[in-house]
């Protein structure tokens, strides 16, 4: 549990809400959380945090580089731990499960296309929405 160092190096005080949120992301099998998800999970765990605090902390963590924010269809932002390595997402339309992937060829072609059009890439997002063909998909949406 070296979370306080994470926070300190990000210039953030080590407070209970921040520790709890960070713990969720670091010690849970689920990698992707919306603000509402985090809020409910903390309430269920007996923590007494405010929704506004959750939003604030998530944004701070994003700015500190601890988390990455994604805008999937559906309006709400989704966060995940920043592993440093970029990847894209494939979202199951049945159950909402998110899987990650990285394809060198796709990344390279993006650079090529952008350069040819006269742009310098700052960021990009590739979201594939699909039906899971495996049995492991719970289809519980």
């Amino acid at each position: 549990m070296h979370q306080p160092e994470h926070l300190k190096s990000a210039g953030l005080k080590s407070t209970l809400p921040r520790l709890k949120v960070l713990d969720l992301f670091e010690n849970s099998k689920e990698r992707h959380w919306s603000a509402e998800d985090v809020y409910k999970q903390l309430l269920n765990s007996g923590e007494d945090v405010g929704l506004a605090t959750v939003y604030r902390v998530l944004t701070q963590f994003e700015q500190a580089g601890l988390l990455v924010r994604h805008h999937f269809e559906g309006g709400k932002s989704v966060f995940e731990l920043n592993k440093g390595e970029h990847h894209d997402h494939i979202v199951c339309l049945q159950c909402g499960h998110v899987e990650e992937f990285y394809d060198t060829a796709i990344e390279a072609r993006q650079e090529k296309v952008a350069t040819e059009l006269g742009f310098a890439i700052r960021d990009h997002s590739l979201h594939i929405y699909a039906d899971c063909t495996k049995k492991k998909c719970p289809h519980k949406r």
Copy 2:
């Protein structure tokens, strides 16, 4: 001006708001419009439409296949005429200008990746956010 046929074939009555919205998309150099954009433009043109109607019409046009909806960062939906041919987008971070591109290699790799992960692609969105390196960029954001 064969818009009424467009509407009729989509099972939609030929009303003034619908004609005006469709006209905007068909006879304007700007291809991408948000609901708010459309609403303001129509008001400036002296039309007396309601914002709710604009939202309803845009959604109907999307369902009818006349328009395509995009979810860029920033939360709000953006629409454009459905030209039938899929393409991805590169958004200028300076001026918000949207350019379109299509890359066969990227499309093919996406199919490959999805198949390998056990998914059947239904839809996808690739948005590149970049700085325009040409002088043509108005940098007026």
